[in-house]
Amino acid sequence: MTSKKTELMVGIFVALAIAATLLLALQVANKGMSGSGETYTVHAKFDNIGGLKPRSSVKVGGVVIGRVSDIYLDEQELIPVVVMEISDEYAETFPETSSVSILTAGLLGEQYIGLTPGFIFPGEEPIYLGDKDGETKFIVDTKSALVLEDLIGQFLFGKDSD
């Protein structure tokens, strides 16, 4: 019923479909980088997150080191809290004096988080970013997203108040 040629063609068909799936997974959806791999969690409080969304990237000098996993509102202080998952490759790399700011890629591009590494005092035991012993620590040194309306307001009225 089934000849060798038929089986070969079906084999090629299935192989082609697997190759297409791999292309979609690795090249299009970029599953290899974001889905797998160990990460650690960093929290940061902002005044305004602008258009930041879950899955936005976290970058240090343009290099992607992690992604935003969750955004929620702090119930006591009523300010947004951003939860970031940073690759374990960079565990114990950034001191806790590091600062984060919400930046925009290009004029109309996606918003992402830029992390600026802090400094370590010589001779002191360095403390690194990340939650330890189940205690949530927040990055305090944050710069909020640029809101165009605020910027125009500053431009129009800022000069008078100086």
Partner: protein
């Protein structure tokens, strides 16, 4: 009074068709699986899937290329031609991949299935199988059903992948969009579960519906040359309408409410 009788008769005919179609599927699929039928399924995958490959690849390539061309002419006005990648990828993965594949599949393979089974019925091959104590539902219908359900999602995946490469061909190689931004913004936007897996689920649903309609139309065809030609036409028309209607429902369920 007459229109009431017609309405009643029409409703009864539709209901009994749905019932018969369900009984056919039940008889073909709900039983202990027979592993000696696997070569039959592979042969049908060759006929239904492999032979549809050419039309799927060519259509995917050209649809991706056309979308890149159209998208570029509009996006470039806003200096946002970097967003060409996610535009092509999302529309292919979420909508065009599953829907166009299903429409082509209904035209290319569904009509062939209907005509084949209708002719088997007209030449009394199905009755002869029954005479030999071979269940035609399990010998003829079941392998074709599984072959269609397996082939269509694979074809849809190939369609989307080729379309994205076609978009790259026109957008990056011809119109000069930056290759880095084509892929990287796409990677930042496309989500595996939300976009790719939902597209595959869509095409699986379409496969079930198209193959079911095609097999039932052939199985219930009036065994004359006119009846078979009518059944083939109905397969293509009904499948296409059902695909487009179901696509709206599935899209609303998957992407409508966030």
């Amino acid at each position: 009074m007459n229109w009431l009788i017609n309405l009643g008769a029409g409703t009864l005919a539709k209901l009994s068709a749905i019932g018969n179609a369900s009984l056919m599927l039940w008889g073909a699929l709900v039983a202990f699986p027979r592993f000696k039928n696997i070569p039959l399924i592979i042969h049908q995958i060759y006929i239904v899937g492999v032979q549809s490959l050419l039309i799927i690849i060519v259509s995917g390539l050209f649809i991706g290329m056309v979308m890149a061309l159209q998208g570029y002419t509009i996006l470039v006005n806003y200096g946002a031609e970097g967003s060409l990648g996610p535009m092509v990828a999302l529309s292919l993965l979420r909508e065009l991949g599953p829907v166009v594949t299903a429409l082509l599949f209904a035209g290319r393979a569904g009509s062939a299935l209907t005509a084949e089974i209708g002719l088997m019925k007209a030449t009394e091959q199905l009755s002869s199988l029954e005479m030999m104590a071979v269940d035609p539902l399990r010998r003829v219908i079941a392998p074709r059903f599984w072959a269609g359900v397996i082939s269509m999602p694979l074809l849809a995946i190939i369609f989307s992948a080729i379309g994205i490469l076609g978009g790259h061909l026109v957008g990056v190689d011809w119109l000069g969009v930056d290759a880095g931004s084509y892929w990287s913004i796409m990677q930042a936007t496309v989500d595996w579960d939300k976009d790719v897996v939902n597209g595959i689920i869509k095409s699986l649903v379409f496969a079930l519906v198209v193959v079911w309609i095609a097999l039932y139309k052939g199985y219930a065809a009036i065994p004359t040359s006119e009846g078979i030609s009518k059944a083939t036409t109905e397969t293509v028309v009904f499948s296409s309408l059902t695909i487009l209607g179901l696509d709206f429902v599935l899209t609303a369920l998957m992407f409508g409410i966030n």
